[in-house]
Subunit: 355 residues, 2 copies
DNA sequence: CTGTTAGCGCATTCAC
DNA sequence: GTGAATGCGCTAACAG
């Protein structure tokens, strides 16, 4: 724990003034090449660590941060992301951040378009995006880049963009995890079913496609004897879904494990419970209120969780770092660890995710 | 994101000076009852948030932190705790902390006694303890309390002490998780075995007892038909262990799931792999190098992990808060979420835990 | 291009 | 008991 070196000392060691060091640290220009070299050498040698907090004190400026994600339903995925964002703002409450949320309907491309179009006019210093629709996101990102406004992605990546950072999950790995779990949870001769959402055409549904690939990849490389069936359920019409699900189960009596590769595991679980179908292991995604209920009553065996709160927390943290300090390398991609949640470890996770 | 209120404003609002507010915030005395009342009212009304970083700048003092845990073997439990400690010190590198590690041998009470006896003489400002031996820890804690030195526990609690905070896992819940997993992983008519360590008499072994209770509780409340066998393995003599394990498996051919309720799952996994015994599901604890190897080669089905890095991180964070600000409520106990790690989510966790 | 300086929130010393 | 003054690391405006 050697004492951290300060700007004053850097200045003395490199024979320039504090002002010059500051200009170099913040790429603010008006520095001779020789000064820059000298200071950068000392910086590297001494392992200078920038103090973001004293910097923020001095810099009286307040930053405007816009966060645009699908609507945050209480206790669901985007709400948990929001909790993480709140915790980060709390942790950095010495830095004044005016934070605006702009929510859109993830099933309605026009709602997204409206939301995204309003963003540049609000003069943000930075933007955090939970992307759903590809083309709308591309348009927004290009406008932000032109304006030199840094942005970060949460949950999904959009190719052809240049964010400061992306926090998301490895969806293929998530699918493989579900594969392994169902493989372990069901007898060898049982069949496995994949239930995915009928709606398509958005990025989160794309997440679910990548999960499907991962799940298939798992069984291809481990156990060729497994039969994998596939079916779709409608998100919008629960009664219709129930009928579909029961029909499917009647037609496929050897199915003992079901992968619901979105957060709607509870719909399948409730449908089966309704008709008293037992002995089916369901694995789904996200700690939503309904999934929590089903884990508790034993109708869902496990849920995969992608640390939404950690994603939100770190996105804000990185953005604050970018705003106050030299943006280091751009377009860094971080994968969250993928948590497996069952009834017995549910409570501890819930506390972390939703407090 | 309302702007945070500052000491200067608190002072103005309560009709005293900044110095007086500071004396009240830090319980430093020499304040009239009327001033205290006035300030405390304003403090509560305005939701004043203490800025630990600017405080640290002003306070030129450097703190001496002593951390005493069992020896940190590279890549194992206490080393990961240490990583978390390192990350916290990094995050708070604006606060100068001189940090001394004092390791002891967790199987040798004399080594622990020597380590703990040396601590008060080093004049620490705070101590973080990874406790193993109860009586030695009690002695140390009493001496620290007499000297008014705050301390925190990681991993285990010792009753009759008064730490600032404790970060640990709910060991009973961990046992229940193992129960659920083995229940799911094995056919209904299979038997389950518990392997625990032969050595006893220390707190971490006590952890393993609480896990055993949890595991039994799970089966008692879920599936009375299961037969649970129990066996011990020697940590110190691997060849002896292998023999014991094979003997046990030969005598109990119906055992299809094994719970190793300490970090030695790899010993059982290796023994079975040596004799080409297949189709046994092993669940164990902690992401150690050897367990990671066995998860990768498929001989361990799952490992339970108690966020050692998070424990270390938060212990330091809380201690720093105590050193710089009013110690809030004492003796708070935090449980970590319990992660379930299988081959498919291993890499993502490894990155977080060991980077 | 560069150095100097005032001031940010906070803790502490020293008069009063 | 209390307040004013000084200095901490840092930024930015300003004077050279």
């Amino acid at each position: 724990m050697a004492r951290q070196i300060k700007i004053k000392e850097i200045a003395e060691m490199s024979g320039v003034s504090r002002g010059t060091v500051d200009r170099i640290l913040h790429n603010r220009g008006n520095v001779s090449e020789s000064s820059r070299k000298a200071v950068e050498n000392v910086l590297a040698e001494t392992g200078y660590k920038f103090n973001i907090h004293t910097s923020a004190v001095s810099l009286k400026k307040s930053f405007r941060l816009i966060i645009s994600t699908p609507v945050a339903v209480a206790g669901e995925y985007w709400d948990t992301v929001r909790n993480g964002i709140g915790h980060a703002l709390e942790e950095y409450s010495d830095i004044t951040i005016d934070c605006d949320y702009i929510f859109y309907n993830q099933f309605d491309i026009y709602s997204c378009r409206n939301a995204f179009e309003s963003i540049p006019g609000k003069n943000p210093d930075a933007v955090i995006i939970g992307a759903t629709f590809v083309s709308e996101t591309l348009v927004l990102c290009h406008r932000l880049e032109e304006a030199g406004i840094p942005y970060a992605f949460i949950d999904s990546v959009i190719e052809g963009t240049n964010p400061v950072v992306t926090y998301s999950s490895d969806q293929n790995a998530c699918g493989q995890i579900v594969g392994r779990l169902l493989d372990l949870f069901t007898p060898e001769d049982a069949e496995i079913a994949i239930f995915s959402s009928r709606r398509i055409g958005n990025e989160r549904a794309n997440n679910s496609m990548m999960r499907t690939e991962g799940l298939r990849a798992y069984f291809n490389s481990h156990n060729t004897a497994r039969t994998i069936k596939e079916s779709k359920i409608s998100v919008l019409d629960p009664e219709e879904s129930k009928k579909d699900i029961m029909e499917f189960m009647n037609e496929n009596p050897k199915v003992k494990g079901i992968a619901v590769l979105n957060s709607r595991g509870y719909i399948v679980a409730d449908a089966l419970a309704d008709r008293s179908v037992k002995g089916i292991q369901i694995v789904s995604f996200d700690l939503t209120v309904n999934n929590i209920r089903c884990i508790k009553n034993g109708t869902i065996a496990a849920v995969i969780c992608q640390r939404p709160e950690m994603q939100g927390f770190h996105a804000v943290k990185t953005i604050i770092g970018t705003l106050l300090y030299n943006p280091a390398e751009k377009n860094v991609r971080h994968f969250m660890p993928t948590d497996i949640i069952i009834r017995e470890n549910l409570d501890q996770y819930k506390e972390i995710y939703t407090d």
